[in-house]
């Protein structure tokens, strides 16, 4: 466990010192302040503008953070051969995958927490009173990032270039928001083969709509839903991490 933690801390340090990390967090922060200025256009709904745009921006920038760091995390280390120095240590190979994943997710969470704190400060300035749904939407976004992180790690092992793993991960993130549309397509599909293919596709892509809590703010969705979403998210991450470990164990360097 200590060795996994050590790899996670190393990854965290590595990501946090990367200039891209600061740039993304900085831009998200700037955008939150831009919404603050734009909110005057919203009349009575000014708070809603800051709340909705802010949450979406934070999630989007967190997504960029996790994808950009995630796809290069392992692939770059393999290409630069830095990974050799870890793999020649007396530790099981899967420690590396799990440690890298936790470090990646943790560094993204730190960036997110900074952005959420700034967002809250801006909201409070506008007279917002804390709503528990805000916390639920934050937790949901955290879970989404954990899923995308596991996909980024998987694709960085699966593909041979950062660009292709970046495209794959981004593609799955995008499709993850259209699962109900895919379900509709399955119903409408006539050819049985197409139906089967779409069904398989439906189960492979992450259903990120489970985690769009911010879309349901004030709709009265029960918090117990979070537990279901968490179980789904955790299982999805686990499956993709196991697949990543299998791939990594078979890989020659």
């Amino acid at each position: 466990m200590k060795k996994i933690l050590s790899i996670a801390v190393y990854t965290l340090r590595q990501n946090i010192r990367n200039r891209i990390y600061y740039i993304l967090v900085f831009f998200a922060t700037v955008l939150i302040f831009v919404y603050f200025l734009l909110s005057v256009l919203g009349g009575e709904e000014s708070l809603r503008i800051i709340l909705d745009f802010g949450l979406t921006t934070i999630e989007f920038f967190a997504l960029l953070l996790v994808i950009f760091s995630g796809v290069s995390l392992i692939l770059e280390e393999i290409e630069s051969k830095t990974v050799y120095l870890v793999l020649v240590r007396p530790i099981p190979k899967w420690y590396y995958i799990i440690g890298r994943y936790f470090g990646l997710v943790l560094s993204t969470y730190i960036g997110m927490i900074i952005m959420y704190l700034i967002h809250c400060a801006v909201l409070f300035c506008k007279g917002w009173s804390f709503d528990i749904n805000y916390l639920y939407s934050v937790i949901s976004s955290f879970m989404k990032i954990a899923i995308i992180g596991s996909l980024a790690v998987f694709f960085s092992l699966f593909s041979t270039s950062s660009a292709s793993s970046l495209v794959f991960t981004f593609f799955l993130w995008l499709l993850g928001h259209f699962t109900s549309e895919i379900k509709f397509l399955i119903k409408k599909a006539g050819a049985p083969l197409l139906k089967i293919l779409l069904e398989i596709f439906y189960f492979i892509i992450p259903n990120l709509q489970y985690f769009n809590w911010r879309d349901f703010l004030g709709s009265g969705l029960a918090p117990s839903w979070l537990l279901i979403a968490f179980l789904y998210g955790a299982s999805y991450c686990l499956i993709f991490l196991i697949l990543s470990i299998i791939l990594f164990n078979k890989k020659e360097f």
Binding site: K3, I7, N18, K81, Y84, P92, E252
Partner: protein
């Protein structure tokens, strides 16, 4: 005692392209025994299989056939890796970290006790003459400093076997001399050193025995006394020419 034993080791690289399978021989029926405390050099032209042999010993590649054991323990066994220190051909470290941070990380992975970690790190930094630059970010390091840091990480867990892939590759004359003395010091401490090189002049200065590898096959093992009578370069060229 035999430190590293290689029996009938074969590695064939398989690559598929447009449905066709391409096979390349990495090493072929390699048999080698390296005694504890000796400096063994693996000499060969580029692409002769030196790095493949080293990677097979370290478990970075899987053998197609054959067995490797370290101090009698059959590989693959990840725990046995604790007995080995490794220097890669072109060492690279994450540029945003400092040397001390990198070494602390490798100490943790190698299981160096927390209570002696800082002392161990200072010791190895002193050995490789990098102590004064240990808090600098690696992005500020020169190639020679990177090489020294790479050696430092291989020494952290005090392994009895050291495997160096192209130890002096890309170093200036002073750096090469420093590395030579360093290897000889390791021998004095009773360490087993196994290293690959294509620089004959360096190999003959430090090695007890040399293996000549060509196109994946070990052609000959030469002992120090042999190249005292006859130049190692001549022996190498003669050996290579016999199979050309």
């Amino acid at each position: 005692m035999i430190a590293i034993k290689i029996e009938n080791l074969t590695k064939i690289y398989r690559r598929r392209h447009l449905g066709k399978l391409y096979k390349t021989v990495g090493v072929k029926n390699l048999n080698l025994e390296i005694q504890e405390g000796e400096i063994f050099g693996l000499l060969g032209l580029n692409g002769s299989g030196k790095t493949t042999t080293i990677k097979l010993i370290l478990g970075l590649l899987f053998p197609t056939e054959g067995k490797i054991s370290i101090f009698g323990k059959l590989l693959p066994d990840r725990i046995v890796l604790n007995l080995v220190g490794y220097l890669p051909e072109i060492p690279y470290f994450h540029k945003f970290l400092t040397a001390k941070e990198v070494l602390r990380f490798y100490c943790n992975l190698s299981g160096v006790d927390k209570s002696i970690q800082e002392k161990t790190i200072d010791e190895v930094l002193n050995i490789v003459n990098l102590f004064n630059d240990s808090n600098k970010r690696i992005s500020e390091y020169s190639k020679g400093m990177m090489q020294r840091l790479a050696i430092a990480q291989s020494l952290l867990h005090n392994p009895p076997i050291l495997i160096f892939d192209e130890l002096v590759s890309g170093l200036d004359p002073l750096g090469i001399r420093e590395m030579r003395n360093f290897v000889l010091n390791l021998k004095e401490k009773g360490k087993t050193v196994f290293f690959s090189s294509h620089l004959i002049s360096e190999v003959e200065k430090v090695c007890d025995r040399v293996g000549i590898l060509h196109k994946g096959s070990l052609l000959k093992i030469v002992e120090q006394k042999d190249w005292q009578n006859k130049n190692l370069e001549e022996i190498f060229i003669e050996t290579i020419n016999t199979v050309q």
